[in-house]
């Protein structure tokens, strides 16, 4: 449903030009959960901004359902890393979640139902009339997720959404996003620098290589569903995939990729 087609992004011009994204090509299928993983500073945020239509690409294009993205599409929602700066502090949880729905001009009752359903899905019903700054970081990010869900996007982009919360909260949020993704049947593109997270969450992983950013490789993740923080992570396949992605990120450009089988064999000695 989403194609990133030879996307290039260069900041500045002439001698000072910085090539943030070299030449990116990948696709995201209907209802797929795709993680884009790469080292810090490899243009992941730039990529997401181009995908969401916030930044015009220098060359190439992003297509959503065969339509060129040249501004934020109506069928797309975005969850930012900095929850405290993407929620409106002068609005309550309810107002925050309801705010994007104004665009859709729904009947009041229907909009209210969408808001309450989304907030229930992230288990914050008790906090509907609180302000975001009265909540913990993990809860604030759940509000941002509820806002994205109530908007009923067909595709949800997430920019390192769990990078600024503690480990336990992070695990809870990972399970939450898998759950609501099933419930809402939404396609997810999830950008992260955390390899464990990418393997745990995704159906497919797009591994990026830094400066200028290009796709290193695309991996299918065939771990059993539903995922579980303990059981899934105990699986030998999880460990081997994790090690494989790790090596893939470390690998220099032009080197031949290791065989998946070889990676499995090396699972007892994690990288």
């Amino acid at each position: 449903m989403l194609q990133v087609d030879h996307l290039k992004k260069t900041y500045g011009a002439g001698d000072d030009a910085v090539e943030a994204i070299g030449d990116l090509f990948f696709e995201v299928g209907e209802k797929e959960f795709v993680c884009v993983v790469g080292p810090s500073g490899c243009g992941k945020t730039t990529l997401l901004k181009c995908m969401s239509g916030l930044l015009p690409p220098t060359a190439g294009e992003v297509r959503l359902r065969d339509e060129r993205v040249d501004g934020p599409p109506e069928k797309m929602a975005l969850v930012f890393q900095e929850y405290s700066r993407s929620l409106f502090p002068w609005m309550t949880v309810r107002q925050n979640v309801a705010f994007p729905l104004r665009r859709k001009r729904l009947p009041k009752a229907e909009a209210g139902e969408l808001v309450e359903h989304a907030v229930r899905s992230v288990d914050l019903t008790r906090f509907l009339d609180r302000y975001p700054w009265e909540l913990s970081g993990g809860m604030q990010q759940r509000v941002a997720i509820a806002r994205a869900l109530a908007y009923q996007p067909e595709i949800l982009l997430m920019d390192e959404p769990f990078a600024s919360v503690d480990a336990q909260t992070r695990a809870d949020l990972e399970d939450l996003i898998l759950e609501v993704r099933r419930e809402y049947g939404v396609t997810v593109v999830f950008v992260t620098h955390d390899i464990d997270e990418s393997v745990y969450l995704s159906d497919r992983i797009v591994v990026l290589r830094p400066s200028p950013t290009e796709v290193q490789e695309v991996l299918d993740v065939d771990l059993p569903e539903p995922r579980d923080q303990v059981e899934t992570k105990e699986l030998p396949e999880f460990a081997s995939l994790r090690a494989y992605v790790y090596r893939s990120i470390k690998r220099k450009q032009g080197e031949a990729p290791a065989q998946r089988e070889a990676a499995s064999a090396a699972e007892s000695t994690p990288a």
């Binding site: 934020p72 109506e74 929602a77 975005l78 405290s84 409106f88 665009r103 806002r147 908007y151």
Partner: protein
């Protein structure tokens, strides 16, 4: 702050001004100077003059002029500030003009105001508005231009319309700066009210203070000055109260970000 230190602070806040007042009372009681009448005289004159003898004839006109000038300044300052804050080009073009106009010392405009607008209320309202608009305008520009980029991206991603984004995102986001400008504007409004009433006026508190001085009614003059001080204090307090209410989210958000 613990409960004890808070109590102590509250006590100090009441005790120190009262003590100052007592000192002034005792000191002025023994004054033989014509220019420094005993505080008791000033207070009784205050009582006779302002409660409520001249309240309708002088205080109300003064307050109305100030309210009108101040309101016009806030409305214009916020409206133009939002526009200029959101458009870099308009800002670059407008900045020299704004800097020039606000650099004009306000009393210098009085002769012009009297000549062109006349000596009536409009002139005084104009002067007050002209001076109060700059802090509101400049602060609103700052606030509207400095909205957090993540909030702006969020607004764009969710396709928030122009009207909603201006009134429900940019305006509240600029709120803290707007109120900083409004606080400055309130003090300026009071100052300009007094100045404008001292020139070519037939009523108002400023007029009264000047007339009292000219007719050597010294306790009356002091009672007018005292009234102006009290008004300034109350007006500032009112703005702070409104600000606390409107910007409750800001205090809360800041407190949670710090702690």
């Amino acid at each position: 702050m613990t409960r004890r230190t808070r109590l102590l602070a509250a006590a100090l806040e009441v005790i120190v001004p009262l003590a100052a007042l007592a000192v002034l009372w005792v000191w002025s009681a023994n004054q033989s100077s014509y220019y420094y009448p005993p505080l008791s005289d000033v207070l009784s004159t205050f009582n006779d003059t302002w409660i409520f003898e001249r309240f309708g004839s002088d205080v109300v006109p003064s307050l109305l002029r100030m309210a009108a000038g101040f309101s016009i300044a806030v409305v214009l300052g916020v409206a133009f500030g939002l526009v200029l804050g959101r458009s870099r080009r308009a800002r670059i073009g407008a900045t020299p003009i704004i800097e020039f106009l606000r650099a004009i010392p306000p009393p210098a405009l009085l002769p012009f105001g009297i000549l062109v607008i006349g000596v009536g209320n409009s002139m005084k309202v104009f002067i007050i508005a002209f001076v109060c608009v700059w802090p509101v305008l400049l602060n609103t520009i700052d606030g509207a231009a400095g909205v957090d980029p993540t909030l702006e991206d969020t607004t764009r991603v969710y396709g928030i319309g122009r009207r909603d984004s201006l009134l429900r995102v940019i305006l509240p986001a600029a709120g803290p700066q707007i109120f900083a400008g409004v606080r400055t504007a309130v003090s300026l409004a009071l100052i300009l009210m007094v100045i404008s009433e001292m020139v070519a006026s037939t009523n108002g508190i400023g007029y009264f203070v000047l007339q009292a001085q000219r007719s050597f009614a010294i306790p009356e003059m002091w009672s007018g000055i005292l009234l102006l001080g009290i008004l300034g204090y109350l007006l500032n307090g009112a703005v702070v109260l409104v600000e606390r209410r409107v910007l409750r989210w800001h205090r809360g958000a800041r407190a949670s970000a710090l702690g």
